[in-house]
């Protein structure tokens, strides 16, 4: 059973339907006690970072997620759900994140090293560059295109957490992980074949569903 963390800020419909397509049982709940006993957890997220941290706190999920990660339970953060795992974000003023991964979130500068401006958000299909194909999450994931939509981006010094990146005027962390804690900047359920493969690997390989 996969537990989907519902703190009022995720597109739960499409991710839950994607799990149904790969025959994985799931439970959606907005309180930690209702998700106890699940084999793995998905942390979705759309919207603004400060609102999301507040909502996570109000639903009692901050401690819950930290405990589950400490216990080694598989957790998959999606989109904003990935960004929340880091130390802090500049979105809407400096806000602390869950601090489970090293790095911070800042806005795409919108201007490259040569002084040329480019569009923000990073929106559309971009190709993955796989750095750690041996990770269980990356099994059979090729350098396919996945669908990005984001204005804020992870900055980290720790290359060991970068499973895959993508190039958008800078190296964009696309799939990251540290042990059983994994995440993707893009929505796997909206990213065609590669995205579905990631979800399947998380549920079936990492959570053994």
């Amino acid at each position: 059973m996969i537990g989907i963390i519902d703190y009022g800020m995720g597109n739960l419909f499409s991710v839950s339907k994607a799990l149904e397509r790969i025959d994985v049982h799931y439970k959606i709940a907005d309180r930690p006690k209702d998700l106890e006993g699940c084999d793995g957890f998905i942390l979705p997220g759309v919207g603004a970072f400060p609102d999301a941290m507040r909502a996570l706190g109000e639903h009692g999920f901050i401690r819950f997620i930290k405990e589950k990660v400490a216990e080694g339970a598989p957790v998959y953060g999606i989109c904003l759900g990935m960004q929340l795992l880091f130390e802090s974000s500049q979105e809407g003023g400096e806000t602390d994140g869950l601090g489970l991964l090293p790095g911070s979130i800042s806005r795409f500068p919108g201007i490259d090293e040569d002084g040329n401006s480019y569009k923000v958000p990073h929106m559309g299909w971009n190709q993955l560059k796989i750095h750690q194909p041996e990770q269980p999450l990356m099994k059979d994931v090729k350098d396919d295109h996945v669908y990005f939509v984001h204005s804020f981006v992870v900055r980290t010094e720790d290359a060991s957490i970068l499973y895959a990146t993508s190039d958008y005027h800078m190296e964009v962390p696309a799939v990251i992980g540290k042990g059983n804690l994994v995440a993707s900047q893009f929505h796997p359920e909206k990213s065609g074949r590669a995205g579905m493969q990631l979800l399947e690997n998380f549920c079936k390989v990492m959570c053994k569903q």
Binding site: N11, F13, S14, K17, A18, E20, R21, V46, G47, A48, G110, S117, K119, V120, P121, H122, M123, G124, W125, N126, Q127, H145, Y147, V149, H150, S151, D167, Y168, E189, K190, S191, G192, R193, G195, M196
Partner: protein, 252 residues
Amino acid sequence: MLSKRIIPCLDVKEGRVVKGIQFVDIRDAGDPVELAKVYDEQGADELVFLDISASHEGKKTMIDVVRSVASELAIPFTVGGGIRTLEDIKETLRNGADKVSLNSSAVQRPELITQGADYFGSQCIVVAIDAKYDEDAGNWRVFTHGGRTPTEWLVTDWAKEAVKLGAGEILLTSMNQDGEKTGFDLPLLKVVQEVVSVPVIASGGAGSSEHFHEVFTEVDADAALAASIFHYKETSVQNVKAYLKEKGVPVR
């Protein structure tokens, strides 16, 4: 590198696709979900569903269509047509759409753009603009209500205003070129590209693969939308993409 997006557009009326679509091997040619699957298989990067239902029941049915599409497809899709209130935006996105497209309602109540963007983020809010060249003004004028109603807005001003209010993308249709199949309206796209910082989807006029190449190389549009050229099987998404790839345009 970001790839250029090819987006088929489906008109949906009372839950059924309209505009004579000529696919073979589909049991129910009017079913939006079946057609969406076909375009997905062809490599469509995104889909747009335009609800042209006249009745309240038709609008309700559209939500079922949205749910079915979101249940079965792993590519993003946009829903437009008749979205007038923040409640409409919420209902559409909560049932699985990735973006909503606002047209007449955005001109009538510009605050709707901001409300939607504040609530769900700019990336969910597409402002669709129908523009027609106005000889006297020497510029393009914005029309609403399916091109029937002229407004006071010039296209560059409205596009800038829409982005300022929170639009995350502009879907720009040339009324002059729409249905002509003689190519996208490059001058129109150029003036709008120059004044906005968000992605622009070119619409209206696609008649061949060359036209897609033109719009991606000459005005650097981020995406191109087409309806009849795909519906009538004059070409397919695959063919267009194969052509673009050969010409060095990045596609998925």
